[in-house]
């Protein structure tokens, strides 16, 4: 029974912290919100080359380091702390997991090495315009046989980092059931519209497909299962990012409470402030516990994965939101300004709470998972 990070994992964590501290400063984050691609190519390459992050949860035979989802979760926490990491979530969580879960070794061999090295950016397009996250209800895209290949028509939305993706995995309906397709991007017939986001540290697009060629990944009829499983992994991965965000908010709040003086003493000495900080600490450590356990479940494909993933998404989302909201409150007036960083985390927390399904949605799925 060992519930924690090994010394090697802690060393790696330290290296990741150093990397993000130097490559994803507050100034970097703000600058990139105005950047067309939205991430720093040099930092992205360093993250792959020096730290092997993109390939952590990809087997060695496909160019990854063959570590595990737990190492990826460690990296995601640091990315969340720094609001950095570029297309890491889209490529190494969503697309990579979908490919691996499809069992399509041809597709895995085609795409995973590039994803692992960072040279290829991939993403997953499953949600429809209605923004719902139930794989049984995804319906906006249809696939039609065109000779040997398929062509795809319809729309998908809320697609993370689609504008920089080289390959987009989509879920579409065929006459044989729902299926996953790999779509090269850019492509004729594929029209992308960037969505202006509340959280400007992320980038999402709406995609319109007009007879766009797509290559089948896995078997028709299997997509719902594969996408469901992918979204469970993604829920835990997002939780890891959210824990990093909580940690950052706690640090900011505590640091401010120690230096801001009112009524002749640092405001951190007042119990109202102290107790809010203590509550954020408790949220952080409980959320972290859920993410670590969830990461174990993902890595070992345990029978309780679905319940754990749903609880993790709901819990970490609400915990991050509270931490980010209280961080603003604890900063007083300056917490409300554009220049201060509080709003960056509050907006990330707000968006992450809805992305991949709200806490309410996930708690209902959890109720189903425990046969309530």
């Amino acid at each position: 029974m060992f519930f924690g990070l090994s010394p090697e994992q802690q060393d790696y964590q330290r290296a990741l912290r150093d990397f993000f501290r130097s490559s994803s400063t507050s100034q970097d984050v703000r600058r990139l919100t105005g950047d067309e691609r939205g991430y720093d190519e040099t930092a992205w390459r360093r993250m792959a080359g020096d730290l092997g992050v993109q390939g952590l949860d990809i087997p060695e035979q496909y160019g990854g380091s063959g570590a595990s989802f737990i190492e990826l979760a460690i990296a995601l926490e640091e990315a969340g702390y720094a609001l950095g990491g570029g297309p890491l979530f889209a490529s190494s969580v969503l697309a990579s997991t979908c490919l691996q879960r499809s069992g399509d070794t041809r597709a895995m061999a085609e795409h995973l090495p590039g994803i692992a090295s960072g040279q290829k950016i991939a993403t997953l397009a499953v949600a429809d315009d209605n923004g719902a996250w139930d794989p049984a209800a995804f319906s906006g895209l249809k696939a039609r046989h065109d000779g040997r290949d398929y062509v795809l028509s319809g729309t998908k939305s809320y697609v993370l980092d689609a504008h920089v993706a080289d390959v987009i995995l989509v879920m579409a309906q065929t006459e044989d059931g729902s299926a996953i397709f790999a779509v090269n991007s850019p492509a004729r017939g594929l029209r992308q519209t960037r969505l202006p986001l509340l959280d400007q540290t992320r980038r999402m697009s709406r995609l319109e497909f007009s007879e766009v060629p797509g290559r089948l990944v896995g078997a028709p009829g299997a997509a719902e299962r594969v996408v469901t499983r992918t979204l469970l992994t993604a829920a835990v991965a997002l939780g890891a990012e959210q824990v990093g965000g909580i940690r950052r908010c706690l640090e900011m709040a505590v640091e401010y409470a120690k230096i801001r003086v009112q009524f002749n003493r640092p405001i951190g000495g007042f119990q109202a402030v102290k107790h809010m900080c203590a509550d954020i600490y408790a949220l952080m450590e409980t959320a972290r516990s859920a993410v670590l356990y969830g990461a174990w479940c993902v890595a070992h494909d345990t029978s309780d994965l679905a319940a754990v993933a749903h609880l993790t998404k709901a819990y970490c989302s609400e915990a991050y939101y509270k931490a980010a909201a209280d961080n603003i409150q604890l900063h007083g007036g300056i917490g409300f300004t554009w220049e201060h960083d509080c709003h960056l985390f509050f907006k990330r927390a707000t968006a992450s709470l809805q992305y991949l399904g709200s806490p309410r949605f996930h708690r209902e799925l959890l109720a189903q998972a425990i046969n309530l």
């Binding site: 029974m1 519930f3 990070l5 640092p266 600490y281 670590l292 209902e364 109720a367 425990i370």
Partner: protein
């Protein structure tokens, strides 16, 4: 991360399960299904079985009748007993003796003290109460004022203690008393063992708001104990007491989570009975509770992991009590919401409730049980370090925020 147990630990778990199977009566549904008199009739034999297995005081060395179990074995024993609805501390004073006083004597006691007290605690001949809190010293424990003065080879004790769990059954009390009035607060306290059956000790039951007398208060008026009943040296009481509170860290979390899981299963049965398992709002609240029970289990596993590895307690140790207590209020409130109006006119069997979740076997439809545990849950965020004190401690000691301003003791107090 490795959430598996070693083969040796799994073999131990199998031994515990086999022991349980051998010792539970036929048709066993958990001790929560027994009423008071049935429990009393059965508990003595069960206690004897545990004692013979060395599992009544599982952490004690074998030479004192304990099981010398490792940290993981202690956790497994506790967990399996909880899941089977079997009390690990069958008699009200057992927990205090085995988990609190015993380890203190093992760490700080003289050979004579260990020889005299440990065996008698194990047999139940000596039944302990814990004498820390006072009417004027709760959260501010170290301001306590019970005095002990050495004279004629005896300590003479004057003062008052309150909130002694199972105090009315105790024949001995271990207490903190001020032995150096000139020393500030925590520095002048000593740890004493005091016999209760003497003229100078008066015990009064405290009736809690659930109508149960689980606690007592003690008044000491010229009470006496032999000088040899001082533990750990004069004016060293706080260090002795804090050792006691630190003992067996990491052991109880997993079984506490198991107890909460049993309680939640019972709540789900109540909800199903009323058809509330299909109510969307109730489903959300049950899911939220299920999530928190899992998180309590993860915190318990983290603590166990630290204990097994011989690590100092981690962050989980500062939040586990607070989190569990606040959860318990949440789930008992949910139970009352599901019970609805019927819950305000309680009926049904009442098992031997105490602080914490009711054990396996309690009737899920008994509003007497739910309303009792609902009332008792109000105390969970108060005793053992109130949630407000826990937050202060986290903020000051972990986050490094400024400590509370010190208020000087008023002149003439």
């Amino acid at each position: 991360m490795d959430l598996t147990y070693t083969p040796a630990d799994e073999a131990f778990r199998a031994r515990v399960k086999e022991f349980i199977a051998r010792h539970v009566p036929g048709g066993w549904r958990g001790c929560g299904a027994l009423d008071r008199s049935a429990y009393d009739a059965w508990a003595e034999d069960w206690r004897k079985a545990l004692l013979e297995a060395g599992w009544l005081a599982p952490a004690w060395p074998k030479e004192y009748g304990g099981g010398a179990l490792s940290v993981s074995e202690q956790s497994i024993l506790s967990e399996e007993l909880t899941k089977a609805g079997l009390p690990q501390s069958p008699r009200p004073n057992d927990g205090l003796g085995f988990s609190l006083l015993g380890p203190t004597l093992l760490a700080w006691g003289t050979p004579e003290q260990r020889k005299h007290f440990l065996g008698r605690t194990l047999s139940g001949e000596i039944r302990w109460a814990q004498g820390y809190s006072e009417p004027d010293a709760g959260s501010d424990l170290f301001s306590l004022r019970t005095r002990a003065v050495l004279g004629g080879g005896e300590w003479v004790i004057d003062g008052a203690k309150t909130w002694q769990t199972a105090g009315m059954y105790a024949n001995w009390i271990f207490l903190l008393a001020r032995t150096d009035p000139a020393a500030e607060k925590a520095k002048g306290l000593s740890f004493l063992l005091v016999p209760v059956d003497q003229p100078g000790v008066e015990v009064r039951p405290i009736k809690n708001m659930a109508g149960l007398t689980e606690f007592a208060s003690f008044t000491f008026t010229g009470a006496r104990t032999a000088a040899s009943n001082l533990v750990g040296g004069e004016n060293n009481g706080v260090r002795v007491a804090l050792t006691l509170l630190g003992f067996e860290r990491g052991v109880g979390g997993v079984s506490a989570a198991a107890a909460y899981a049993i309680e939640l299963d019972r709540l789900i049965e109540l909800a199903r009975h009323h058809g509330y398992n299909s109510d969307p709002v109730i489903r959300q609240r049950i899911s939220a509770c299920w999530s928190k029970v899992q998180i309590i289990r993860y915190l318990g596993q983290r603590a166990l992991s630290a204990g097994i590895g011989g690590q100092p307690p981690g962050p989980e140790s500062s939040i586990i009590k607070m989190y569990g207590a606040e959860y318990h209020k949440e789930i008992t409130e949910l139970a009352m919401d599901i019970a609805g109006t019927a819950g305000i006119a309680p009926s049904g069997a009442l098992s031997a409730s105490s602080l914490g979740a009711d054990p396996l076997g309690v009737d899920p439809l008994s509003t007497s049980s739910w309303s009792t545990v609902f009332l008792l849950a109000r105390a969970g965020t108060i005793y053992g370090g109130s949630s407000e004190i826990q937050r202060n401690t986290i903020a000051e000691q972990i986050l490094g925020l400024p400590r509370e301003p010190r208020v000087p003791i008023p002149v003439g107090r």
